[in-house]
Symmetry: C2
Subunit: 201 residues, 2 copies
DNA sequence: TACTTTTGTTAACACCGTTAACAAAAGTAA
DNA sequence: TTACTTTTGTTAACGGTGTTAACAAAAGTA
């Protein structure tokens, strides 16, 4: 009897249509404003049917998170396969990672839990400049005293901050509480590499 | 007449008590679950009074964001002043930055818009492992072929990912749309530094 | 005392995620 | 075809959210 098969297929299609409607909302208004009600409205069904296919709203978002990680994995693998020297692979993968993030911004934000408050207004925060200026001035001095004083200090500042923020936020996503000393070795490793890159370019 | 002065002072105190109540909620339940109603309940006033002092909920959170950046700035400055050599300053500031982030997790998450979905469940995502394994295997090979094959590849993987994620997320916070080629130079700079640090330690 | 301004309240609007209770449709067995 | 069971869908509600309009009360001013 093909009835069971058809039912499974229909269920799968229904599930896909929910995800489709949800994704439309995510890419048009960001994942923050995704709502079960709007999904129900889009697929022209009542609200509770969605709960027949997904445990809750988070489960729907989790689906996209998984999708995103898989897409990233595929992208990285494809790029990697185009090179043989590991250093070239790492460099190409880095650019691919970057491109993926901005070509699929919605995925990336979901994957790493990004984007909440006044992200577009962050540049207006005066206190932010206080923090940046401390870092920038230090880097500027470090560069001036180095063997390559012509180095772009603003670029180096961005690198410095990015390394720090990257380390911290990755760590925060993965673990609760303050990480142990072993985790701080990653910081030590990255930052000493950065300092070396300034002192002798 | 000191009446005007007293009124200003009382207004300021009221404002502070709102922030105090709000902050209590943020540190106990995370900024996600901060609500105007709970603030009103805590200060034992009706809801609309809060809107006499803050335009909206976001404005309250923005206040903490500013506070956070100022605290970070002060911390960095204090640490910097304890050293004279720029390289030492940068290193000390990096550790201070790290400590600040985890000692004031709530601030940090607000400042950089961190933490939304199943952050605690991110390790259960199978697709994530697909992405990481591509990167890890490449780094492993790179290290094996380098002059220091005993290097901890897991540490280097974390460094690699952190640099990438840091670059991307900082860029995403600050700007809309895909950043220009000039911004990608930061990526190039950081990643070539990383590769160098692997090839000759 | 009469008037104005500030401050606070109640009550509502328009959303949200989630679920219980129930109706309708679909499938199954006689 | 009929009687029963299971699946699927609905309505309506619960408890929560940010925000605001309309109004009362208190405080300050003349």
């Amino acid at each position: 009897m093909g009835i069971a098969e058809r039912k499974i297929r229909q269920r799968e299609e229904f599930r896909a249509s929910i995800l489709e409607a949800a994704w439309q909302q995510v890419i048009s208004d960001g994942w923050q404003s995704l709502s079960i009600r709007k999904i129900a409205d889009a697929i022209e069904y009542s609200i509770p049917v969605i709960y027949n296919h997904f445990e809750n709203k988070e489960a729907i978002l989790l689906e996209f998170t998984k999708e995103g990680f898989q897409k990233l994995a595929d992208t990285l693998q494809t790029v990697k396969d185009q090179y043989t020297v590991p250093a070239e692979q790492l460099e190409a993968m880095a650019h691919a990672y970057w491109d993926f993030a901005f070509d699929h911004k919605e995925y990336y934000q979901l994957m790493f839990g990004l984007g909440i408050p006044a992200c577009d207004r962050v540049n207006e925060i005066e206190e932010l400049k206080n923090a940046t200026s401390v870092m920038i001035s230090t880097i500027k001095t470090a560069i001036e005293e180095s063997s390559h004083p012509e180095t772009d200090y603003f670029l180096k500042y961005h690198t410095y901050l990015s390394i720090l923020h990257g380390l911290v936020s990755i760590q925060m996503i993965q673990k609760e509480g303050k990480p142990d000393a072993a985790k701080k070795m990653i910081l030590q490793d990255a930052i000493s590499g950065f300092i070396i890159s300034i002192n002798r370019k």
